[in-house]
């Protein structure tokens, strides 16, 4: 049977839309099948997009794309029960050129879909793909309800749950320590209030990465990102630790939202949307195989994310894998070989990118974030206590910095060997 299209892309997220756009622009017939009423309707991120790579696809994205703010203030916070220690890095050169943008995925992905459409891709929204069509071990198309569509190559851009590749037995299900649930609210706030509160000029933005009592001791962290007229605030909870804790994810989100260290940042805000999203925490350990006979897997579906504790990246990997996939698919279609061998240029192109190098660099980060359990409770308390001893001129004679730190450490329940081990492990993995 003749294929209906050269390429079927399943999923209108960042990876799917960009793969479709690049292939359509090269003259291939492409359809994007999206289960939402429009691209973006089912998509949710924290979300900071490390966007330098986006300029490779859209050189004028800053003038054209509906992004929120350009991140020039990065704040890292160790949040204890009573005290919080923040390190703020103000670096306007991060906007020259722009390095990271905050985005809201509903408008952002809708724009990406428009670009794919303008390049000649056919958008098919409101359709859920149920399974891959296989013929003697090869993917030949997709089934959606009663309908079957065939193509030379199927692109599984169906997100972190990656149902298509898993159901076909092509990719395995990640273990709970390599998955986290992000729980997020978009909090409406006047743009002038945001500018004043976070010390921002014009389109500048701030990004907070927080660990400690914000997740009630569960492995993970909290984030706060400024948008133009709202804040994106949420927690990310590693599923192995969340389930072991017996705590409710919604209750932890409430706990973070009402934390006294953060309340002044969120004051007068009004929740305008509540959402959640599963995210990969395994880094390179989730990568696995990404090309098969007649199929490639991109973005979240390919497990492509990195969490270093300070930067949480997924959207740049979606863009980078889309660029590599489009290159690989174009090569395969041109050569007339869309088998796994023919599509292997995708893997080579991805492995040649800085993204793959970063996955290798941070290969030990997931294990570190899993094992350094004191980071989610005792370390933030310890650091807070050290500074308390410095700032509290309470009538007792002061001690020098080192003595204060030693005393704070003695009062904490942290074992010296553990601190040493975590410190060494952090240096080696982050």
């Amino acid at each position: 049977m003749e294929p209906d299209f050269d390429v079927i892309v399943v999923g209108g997220g960042i990876a799917g839309c960009i793969t479709a756009q690049l292939l359509a622009a090269q003259g291939h017939s492409v359809v994007v099948i999206e289960r939402g009423d429009n691209a973006g309707a089912k998509n949710l991120s924290g979300g900071i997009c490390y966007s330098r790579i986006l300029a490779q696809v859209f050189p004028d994205y800053l003038a054209e794309a509906p992004y929120e703010r350009q991140i020039v203030r990065n704040v890292f916070g160790l949040v204890g029960k009573e005290r919080a220690t923040f390190a703020e890095v103000f670096d306007p050169s991060l906007a020259q050129p722009v390095n990271a943008i905050s985005v809201l995925r509903a408008p952002f992905d809708a724009w990406l879909a428009e670009q794919a459409e303008a390049a000649g891709a056919f958008m098919m929204p409101g359709v859920r793909v149920d399974e891959l069509l296989m013929e003697s071990g090869r993917v030949i198309g997709v089934r959606a309800g009663e309908d079957e569509l065939r193509a030379q190559v199927v692109v599984a851009a169906d997100g972190i749950n990656s149902f298509l590749a898993r159901a076909a037995g092509l990719r395995s299900t990640p273990s709970l320590n390599h998955l986290a649930v992000g729980v997020k609210a978009v909090i409406g706030l006047d743009s002038q209030v945001i500018a004043d509160r976070f010390h921002l000029e014009g389109r500048e933005g701030a990004a907070f990465a927080l660990v400690g009592d914000v997740t009630a001791g569960v492995g993970g962290g909290a984030f706060l990102y400024t948008n133009r007229q709202s804040l994106s605030f949420g927690v990310v909870l590693r599923l192995d630790d969340l389930t072991a804790s017996g705590k409710e994810s919604a209750a932890i989100f409430d706990h973070a939202l009402s934390h006294k260290a953060l309340a002044p940042l969120l004051r007068d805000g009004e929740i305008i949307e509540y959402g959640c999203h599963l995210t990969g925490e395994g880094g390179i350990h989730l990568l696995d195989k990404i090309h098969f006979d007649g199929l490639v897997v991109v973005g979240d579906a390919a497990g492509l994310t990195i969490n270093t504790g300070l930067t949480i990246r997924g959207m740049d990997f979606a863009i980078g894998s889309a660029i590599a996939a489009a290159e690989g698919i174009h090569t395969a279609l041109t050569a007339g070989d869309t088998s796994a061998v023919g599509l292997s240029h995708y893997r080579r192109a991805f492995e040649a990118s800085y993204l793959y190098a970063d996955l290798k660099t941070y290969a030990k980060a997931p294990a570190f974030l899993e094992q350094a359990t004191d980071m989610y409770d005792r370390y933030p308390e310890l650091v807070g206590d050290v500074f308390h001893r410095i700032y509290a001129i309470d009538g007792d004679p002061r001690t020098r910095l080192l003595a204060s730190a030693r005393a704070a450490f003695k009062d904490s329940a942290i074992k010296f060997r553990q601190l040493l081990r975590d410190g060494l492990s952090a240096v080696r993995s982050l």
Binding site: A41, G126, L239, S249, A250, L257, S258, E270, H277
Partner: protein
């Protein structure tokens, strides 16, 4: 700021409920409900509730479609979960 209850937060979202074909079903006859109970706590939308007799119910209309429940309660443990049919379910305006 007002944190709102989970149901008040969900009321801010846009949902189209599929009355004919709910995308979540629970089989309360499974011998061991441990993993079903994990899904109850892990779900950020509080889709799942435990009744007095220990059985679990699901309100699929409130689902945010993240897949966390299925990750902690994989097939064979009493939960059937897939994405809603095309055009149904949550529709993010912000994301």
């Amino acid at each position: 700021m007002k944190p709102l209850s989970v149901s008040d937060r969900l009321a801010k979202n846009v949902f189209v409920t599929d009355e004919d074909d709910p995308h979540i079903t629970i089989d309360n006859t499974v011998a061991d409900k441990t993993r079903l109970y994990l899904a109850v706590a892990a779900c950020p939308a509080k889709v799942y509730t435990i009744s007095a007799d220990g059985s679990v119910c699901a309100d699929s209309a409130a689902c945010l479609e993240c897949g966390t429940c299925l990750a902690v309660c994989p097939p064979g443990n009493g939960l059937t979960w897939h994405y809603p049919r095309g055009g149904f379910g949550v529709s993010f305006r912000e994301g």
